[in-house]
């Protein structure tokens, strides 16, 4: 295929704005897929995604299109994940393209993530074609949305396409514009090989399948290829294209998009963003932009039934075959037994992973509330990475604590601005800017600690704006903060499992709520049990579990003795299952409640 007849493009859209439907129509229109065979939204490969109506990954697909100019073109549609957790993957997908369709819902207008992705595309030099979708809806207001795209995104909308993917309107125009508006790829097919991996997945039969964009040179089976970041060398077994099924071909050369199979066992050996070159004639440098995805949000996964631990481990092993950005290591919890501490790119990534474990591997699990990693410097200059409160050194030894922060963009109807600002303040946000996108729509930008964001920010935002706000965020690094470890003492003894990290100013309030919860859940004992929350040696909250004052008392005659003894033994057995801290018995529910602790309302 001649390079100049190739067009590589992607679709940028907010959830629900119709990306998948447009993709389906393009496939139909180009005859790539028969409309008879069309399931709705063919390209969504995971059931889960289809069910939630959100798209995490689409497989790249090649279409043949005979344009009005009489020529036949190859159009490669490369997907971009639709969620902020996958910002890096988005950037790699964009890097594989020369152009992007910016799809905006004719009713709802531009949303935060759309904007972020559009900017990223602009930054990477992609040609952007605005498409306004769902113009068939009675509530659509294309003029308003056009103005918004011009004002907010700053794109020229003279050539905007008005479409209704549902009714098939505007599809031909889109195809024509792809041909005329997006430049053909450049690159030298004879140069040393450089192919960028923009996605990879594990297949039971073929092993790891890498989706690549060939930038320079040519991929031909039979030669050895080298992964430049990991250094792995593998025989190239098969290359091919997707239309949308796997279809092997003889070669993929500069400008083309396709897949590569080379007997790789895990996706961890084929990182997204890595450059494939030829082992015998390697490129001098890899393609720019590679980095290893690093988990930022952590939580514990525990099997519901303790005996299912091996199943959970197997399932995680298999899941990471397909998704190398998940990390996991064994962990034990007083309340939940054996499980794993898992790291994810973000909250949605965590939810999806949990859901996939459940559906694809049949593992029922309990997830603990998410947390982040802190970085500390001690007074003697050592650097400590703290995954859990127990990793924090003593208060006096800490010089500085740094926590991950994000830059958070919020698109909010103006009537909710006050509430959202209040929410951000409560979450220790730092105000950066506010501007009106339209008279009734505001963009707020805050810097927010990631730890505060992952607790319940989404839910609160949704409930306070009745679902009308959208958000996007990016990590901006680590920032020093006045964070302290709050310890909980039960009857004077520190109970590790209940320690937590929070901002010094929130320590009293959070300590109060943990202690109050424990007071509810720890049954009365023979002795009064003081519960305290402390920072270092300083007690900030104290409450008591009142001592037991009565039991059920009954007569005891001859026949009762054995039965009563057995009841007492059973009672004692129940107590043994509780965790003893000093002489206090703490029921499992207390640990569970803490793992899922939500901030109580005052």
């Amino acid at each position: 295929m001649k390079q100049k007849r190739i067009r590589n493009f992607c679709i940028i859209a907010h959830i629900d704005h119709g990306k998948s439907t447009i993709a389906d129509r393009l496939l139909e229109e180009t005859g790539t897929i028969d409309s008879r065979d069309m399931k709705q939204q063919v390209l969504d490969s995971l059931d889960l995604e289809r069910e939630r109506g959100i798209t995490i990954k689409l497989v790249p697909v090649r279409m043949r299109y005979k344009s009005a100019d009489g020529e036949e073109y190859v159009l490669n549609l490369i997907d971009t994940p639709g969620h902020v957790d996958f910002g890096y993957e988005v950037s790699r997908s964009l890097a594989a393209c020369e152009g992007a369709l910016l799809v905006v819902d004719a009713t709802q207008g531009v949303e935060a993530q759309t904007l972020a992705n559009a900017y990223m595309a602009v930054e990477q030099g992609l040609e952007i074609l605005p498409v306004i979708n769902k113009i068939d809806l009675p509530s659509s207001r294309p003029d308003y949305v056009i103005k918004e795209i011009e004002d907010v995104v700053g794109l020229d909308c003279d050539d905007v396409i008005l479409a209704s993917a549902k009714e098939g309107k505007g599809i031909t125009e889109i195809l024509e514009r792809i041909v005329s508006g997006i430049p053909a790829p450049e690159g030298d097919p004879e140069a040393p090989l450089q192919a960028m991996i923009f996605d990879s997945e594990y297949d039971n039969y073929k092993g790891v399948i890498c989706y690549v964009r060939v930038v320079n040179g040519t991929l031909r089976p039979g030669r050895n290829i080298r992964f430049m970041a990991t250094g792995g060398v593998f025989p190239l077994e098969e290359v091919g294209i997707l239309n949308p099924d796997f279809q092997p071909c003889e070669q993929l050369s500069a400008g083309e998009v396709g897949y590569v199979v080379s007997n790789i066992k895990t996706v961890a050996e084929a990182h997204v963003g890595d450059t494939i070159t030829e082992d015998a004639r390697p490129a001098a440098v890899p393609l720019p932009g590679y980095r290893k995805a690093k988990p930022v949000v952590f939580c514990g996964f525990y099997p519901v039934e303790r005996d299912d631990y091996p199943q959970l481990r197997d399932a995680l092993d298999k899941l990471t075959l397909n998704d190398s950005s998940i990390s996991f290591e064994p962990e034990t919890s007083v309340a939940l037994g054996f499980g794993f501490r898992c790291g994810f790119l973000g909250l949605l990534h965590m939810d999806i992973s949990k859901e996939r474990l459940r559906r694809e591997f049949g593992v029922e699990l309990v997830a603990t509330s998410p947390n982040v990693i802190y970085e500390l410097t001690t007074k003697d200059g050592a650097l400590v990475e703290a995954h859990r409160p127990s990793d924090f050194p003593e208060l006096g030894e800490i010089d500085e604590v740094r926590e991950p922060v994000i830059k958070l963009s919020l698109f909010v109807p103006s009537e909710y601005v006050g509430k959202v600002m209040k929410l951000c303040q409560d979450k220790r946000g730092t105000y950066l800017s506010m501007d009106y996108l339209a008279p009734d729509r505001v963009r707020l930008i805050y810097e927010l600690p990631l730890a505060e964001f992952i607790i319940d920010f989404h839910d609160k935002l949704k409930s306070q704006t009745r679902g009308y706000a959208s958000l996007d965020y990016e990590f901006t690094g680590l920032k020093a903060a006045d964070l302290v470890r709050v310890d909980v003492l039960i009857n004077g003894e520190a109970a590790d499992a209940f320690s937590f990290i929070c901002h010094r100013e929130a320590a009293y309030h959070r300590g109060q709520s943990v202690v109050r919860k424990l007071k509810e859940l720890i049954p009365s004992q023979l002795f009064e049990v003081p519960l305290q929350a402390s920072i270092g040696k300083k007690v900030i909250v104290r409450q008591n579990v009142k001592p037991l004052r009565k039991d059920v008392l009954a007569k005891c005659y001859g026949g009762d003795i054995t039965r009563k003894r057995k009841l007492l033994e059973k009672q004692k057995e129940g107590k043994k299952r509780m965790k003893q801290i000093g002489r206090v018995s703490i029921p499992q529910e207390a640990f569970l409640a803490f793992l899922k602790v939500e901030e109580d309302d005052e």
């Binding site: 023979l526 037991l548 004052r549 039991d551 059920v552 008392l553 001859g558 007492l568 004692k572 002489r583």
Partner: protein, 389 residues
């Protein structure tokens, strides 16, 4: 169990202690109370007569053998069920048999449980004639509403009459009272307590409504049960002022009117069990008779006794149980007695657990013993659960 079980039990009684207590279970009730988990049935025609005749067989089996061993009965207790459901004539025959087969100590304590609806003058005179000393009446409450709520088949007046007649006939009378009932108030409970005191009871058993596995209410408990604490707390304050001392978790009496039979249970004294589902204790072994009426009938016809199960416990469990039982009583654990019976090491272990795990206010220590204080009795289960293994 084989026919030898009865002989084996007899041999367990052959230790140095010549005295024993006898518990006889009368497994019949006019109706089954929804909260009761004791074994009893509503008798069919002829069943009581057949039971009494087999009970006499069982008496003869043990009575003759034990008398030969030189054993004598210090306390005899008829519990149920509802012993007053047997007719005075049947009682006549039972006592005849008893006195013929067993040896008795000089002034044995003989107690019979009676329910207000079935107790008659006839019973009282037969019992008086045969040396019965105590009558324990299942009053439960002197409030008609509470009795109705409990599903009792008598009213408060019947209970008052039964108490009054028993006292007038010269018996030492105990009343069972319950707390933690639906709609029960401290005021209504006080009326029940003062009512039985005014009628002349010299012993009160107080217990909280507790629903155990075999009762009808276990599966669907009534929702309006009241918290038992205030009733018990109040009784501990009120009754001593009236000359009633708490000598055990649920027992209050005037001086010298304690139930000696029950002490046999709390001190691991020797108890011979007669009747279906009755429990006995001898030679460190607790045993139980056949738990159903047909099973009992079959066993006694076949071998003269109905011993069905024996519970052999390893030492630690047995010793700890002994400590728990002693701690039911206000006398508590007398160090010297306990050490000589169960060993010094075991005494130290028990005392250690109490010192370590029980707040001082819950215990009452003397130089020779330790017992639960009134506050300790209120949380006795929690304390005992520290002791069991």
């Amino acid at each position: 169990m084989t026919s030898n079980s009865g002989e084996e039990i007899v041999s367990l009684f052959s230790g140095s202690d010549p005295s024993l207590s006898v518990y006889v279970h009368i497994p019949f009730c006019a109706g089954k109370c929804p909260y009761c988990s004791f074994f009893s049935v509503v008798p069919r025609r002829g069943e009581k007569e057949e039971y009494c005749s087999l009970l006499r067989t069982e008496m003869r089996f043990f009575g003759e053998r034990l008398a030969d061993e030189g054993k004598f009965v210090r306390t005899l207790y008829f519990g149920g069920g509802t012993p007053s459901l047997l007719s005075p004539d049947e009682w006549e025959r039972l006592f005849d048999c008893f006195y013929h087969t067993f040896s008795f100590s000089e002034r044995p304590e003989i107690t019979i449980e009676a329910n207000p609806e079935s107790l008659t003058e006839g019973h009282l005179s037969v019992w008086k004639k045969h040396g019965v000393s105590r009558i324990s009446i299942g009053v439960q409450s002197l409030s008609d509403d509470e009795l109705l709520w409990l599903g009792r088949i008598h009213d408060a007046d019947a209970a008052r009459r039964a108490l009054e007649q028993s006292v007038l006939s010269g018996f030492s009378v105990s009343a069972d009272l319950m707390f933690g009932l639906g709609e029960q108030t401290l005021r209504s409970f006080k009326r029940s307590v003062t009512g039985v005191l005014d009628l002349g009871a010299d012993h009160i058993s107080l217990y909280q409504l507790a629903l155990e596995e075999k009762c009808r209410w276990f599966a669907i408990p009534p929702e309006d049960r009241s918290d038992g604490y205030p009733f018990y707390r109040w009784s501990q304050w009120y009754l001593p002022g009236k000359g009633f001392f708490q000598y055990e978790i649920s027992s209050f009496s005037r001086p010298e009117k304690e139930c000696r039979h029950n002490f046999a249970y709390w001190t691991n004294g020797q108890v011979l069990a007669l009747g279906p589902g009755a429990w006995g204790y001898a030679g460190g072994i607790r045993y139980c008779n056949e738990r159903t009426l047909p099973g009992y009938f079959r066993a006694v016809r076949h071998s003269g006794n109905a011993v069905a199960e024996m519970e052999k416990m390893e030492e630690e469990r047995r010793v700890r149980e002994a400590a728990v039982l002693l701690l039911r009583t206000s006398k508590g654990i007398v160090f010297e007695d306990f050490a000589s019976r169960y060993g010094h090491g075991n005494l130290l272990a028990v005392v250690g657990i109490l010192e370590e795990g029980v707040p001082p206010a819950c215990l009452s220590w003397s130089s020779v013993s330790v017992a639960l204080s009134p506050a300790g009795m209120r949380v006795a289960n929690a304390i005992w659960s520290l002791l069991v293994v």
